[in-house]
């Protein structure tokens, strides 16, 4: 059995986001492998180490920096990478991204070759949470998102999905899409020897024409949605401190919650 992880390069959480006008200023951004994708890769590699999976492929679409995200996944222990890079892709929305990824996946043999499709639940930049389910839909296979546990048994999987107030346990037939959340595993620190090994692992490159996709089907022109502008979140206000005797404090707090915050 083989597994594929779809990964994304995203700005480091420590990056200070700057805007030039209402556009994102990317000049000083440092990029990392999306932390949720790390859970996905770690899970796939663990399945490989457990002898359940015999190959872990990593696919990423994005500019040249996406290669670094792929290389990070290879350092965790994935076997090889596919990088889809094409200037026309700039501005692609979630559905276009899903379509392009599906074409690349098919080029690698698709569902005939890969039965476990792992994703991060969300990418911490665009945060649309939608690509995994879109890909499942495009491929006509089930998806279990938000998972904290994944057990593979023959061609079936048991996945535990977090829902508000509890967990849902799914038994699904493979192939299936799984989207990882925090808690699925604790990703390892890639050791220095694995970083060296990752350097030698192969990465295949595709442009959209390699995938038979016309340029007007991708990028801004091919997308249903368009980002009109970026704005920074409002500045956080300082907290309010209520001081005094307990009875007095409680009374004041309730009044505040009721009248000012409108919560109760």
């Amino acid at each position: 059995m083989k597994a594929v992880c779809f990964v994304k390069s995203v700005p480091d959480t420590e990056t200070r986001v700057r805007l030039t006008g209402n556009r994102l200023d990317k000049s000083e951004i440092k990029y990392i492998l999306n932390p949720y994708c790390e859970f996905a890769v770690e899970e796939a590699v663990r399945k490989k180490e457990a002898g359940i999976v015999d190959e872990v492929l990593v696919i990423s679409m994005g500019p040249s920096r996406a290669q670094e995200a792929i290389r990070s996944a290879l350092a965790i222990g994935a076997d090889r990478g596919v990088h889809i890079e094409d200037d026309n892709l700039d501005g692609s929305d979630a559905i276009v991204t899903a379509r392009v990824l599906v074409e690349a996946f098919k080029k690698e043999g698709g569902l005939d070759n890969y039965q476990i499709l792992l994703f991060g639940l969300r990418a911490i930049d665009g945060d649309t949470w939608s690509v995994p389910s879109m890909i499942a839909e495009l491929l006509g296979i089930p998806a279990v998102t938000n998972i904290v546990k994944l057990d593979i048994n023959g061609n079936k999987a048991i996945a535990i999905r977090m829902v508000e107030g509890g967990e849902e346990v799914f038994e699904v037939e493979l192939p299936c899409v799984f989207a990882a959340r925090k808690g699925l595993n604790e990703p390892r620190y890639p050791s220095l020897p694995s970083i060296m090994k990752a350097k030698k692992k192969p990465i295949t490159r595709y442009t959209i024409s390699d995938l038979g996709i016309p340029s007007d089907a991708v990028g801004k022109v091919g997308s249903f949605t368009e980002v009109l502008e970026y704005t920074l979140p409002p500045q956080r206000q300082a907290g309010k401190k209520v001081e005094g005797e307990p009875e007095q404090v409680v009374e004041e707090l309730i009044k505040f919650l009721r009248e000012v915050a409108n919560i109760i």
């Binding site: 670094e68 990070s72 890639p190 050791s191 220095l192 020897p193 970083i195 060296m196 350097k199």
Partner: protein, 385 residues
């Protein structure tokens, strides 16, 4: 010329940063107050390859280069100078064994350092009567049959409590001065080697600094590193690499100082505004960042030159390693001074990390060659040329 870090360096840098933040930062206060780096931490570092960064795969290391080593030290030092110096010295010892040892010695000791079976290595040169003037050491190693019998005292030995292996400089021929010095590998627990007093230090308290007493300590003659009489040259050549580590350590501490200065100056309000609004504070930050970035470039250049030298593609890097160490450590002391200054009275209080940075950085202009000795090395190489 290209100043961009390669993919591999960036992945390494991020990994070490994550590791330092998640595995070292939470225990850093304990490391300092208990004056001990937990064995488990050293073992984890070994497992990741951090103790033997430049050692080739065939001896258990990751086979990375000196730039990787410098980047890794910077990240660790940003969180803990104590852990960074322990790591730097262990790497220096591993490299000493790799560069100057024979096949048997490499196979015997390097995998142990790489696997963490030896938690650390120690480099024993300094003696009570021989600091800057390292050529005047008096510890002796006398050949008796198949053994060297070592007698003498070493002081200020980093990692003495943790090391599985010691590179010891000793006089094997009194007639020949510096050319009568040899390096002998001594394993921990060898009878006749006593770990003496542990120093109470101003800073870097987590890193142990101890006295070693050799009293008829017998080791097989096969433990001679390189040739008899080459010891002084070997120790100095190994120190060239070590100095890159200390320069990198200074960069890491400087980076931490800058981070704290920026954070604090934006939060602290006086005269109705954040102190970051005052030009006096801004200039301290600007000067510090300038010195930090200059130091990083000098350290990485020295590392790059060393890698070229080891590949046989370039000349020696002694002068550049000294320049990097001199500049980075002196600059780091200025930066730590400013970091405390920006914090006002709070900078003098233990709860604020800059108080520790200020103490931790002080020794960097002293060990692995004082600033005066670096200047001497630099001037000599220019005047002799």
């Amino acid at each position: 010329m290209n100043f961009a870090l390669s993919e591999e360096y960036k992945i390494l840098q991020k990994m070490v940063r994550d590791f330092a933040e998640k595995e070292i930062a939470p225990i850093v206060d304990r490391v300092e107050s208990e004056e001990n780096i937990p064995d488990e931490l050293l073992a984890k570092m070994a497992e990741l390859g951090l103790n033997t960064i430049t050692i080739p795969e065939e001896y258990g290391g990751p086979g990375m280069d000196t730039i990787s080593f410098a980047l890794a030290i910077m990240e660790v030092a940003r969180v803990s100078a104590s852990v960074a110096v322990a790591m730097s010295v262990t790497n220096m010892v591993a490299e000493g064994i790799y560069r100057f040892g024979n096949e048997e010695q490499r196979r015997k000791y390097l995998p142990k350092l790489a696997r963490g079976e030896y938690l650390a290595g120690a480099f024993a040169l300094t003696e009570p009567g021989a600091g800057s003037d390292a050529g005047s050491i008096r510890t002796t190693a006398v050949k008796e049959g198949n053994e060297y019998v070592i007698n003498g005292n070493k002081v200020f030995i980093t990692n003495g409590l943790k090391a599985g292996i010691f590179m010891v400089a000793a006089v094997t021929d009194k007639e020949k001065g510096k050319k009568g010095i040899s390096v002998i590998l001594v394993e921990r627990g060898t009878p006749g080697l006593t770990i003496g007093k542990k120093e109470k230090k101003m800073g870097q308290r987590g890193s142990d600094t101890v006295e070693l007493v050799f009293d008829n300590c017998k080791v097989p003659i096969t433990n001679l590193l390189g040739n008899e009489g080459d010891g002084f040259k070997i120790m100095l050549a190994d120190l060239d690499g070590g100095r890159i580590g200390i320069g990198a350590l200074a960069c890491g501490v400087m980076r931490a100082c800058v981070d704290e200065m920026v954070k604090y100056s934006k939060e602290r309000v006086q005269f109705g505004q954040p102190i970051a609004n005052f030009q006096a504070i801004q200039w301290m930050i600007a000067d510090s960042v300038t010195e930090l970035e200059a130091a990083e470039l000098l350290v990485l250049r020295a590392a790059w030159l060393k890698d070229r030298f080891l590949k046989g593609e370039g000349g020696r890097f002694t002068k550049e390693a000294s320049i990097a160490k001199l500049f980075a450590t002196e600059a780091a002391n200025r930066v730590a001074y400013r970091a405390v200054q920006v914090h006002g009275g709070y900078g003098y209080i233990e709860e604020f990390p800059v108080e520790r940075f200020y103490r931790d950085i002080r020794v960097t202009t002293i060990y692995e060659g004082t600033s005066e000795i670096q200047r001497l090395v630099i001037a000599r190489s220019i005047l002799e040329g």
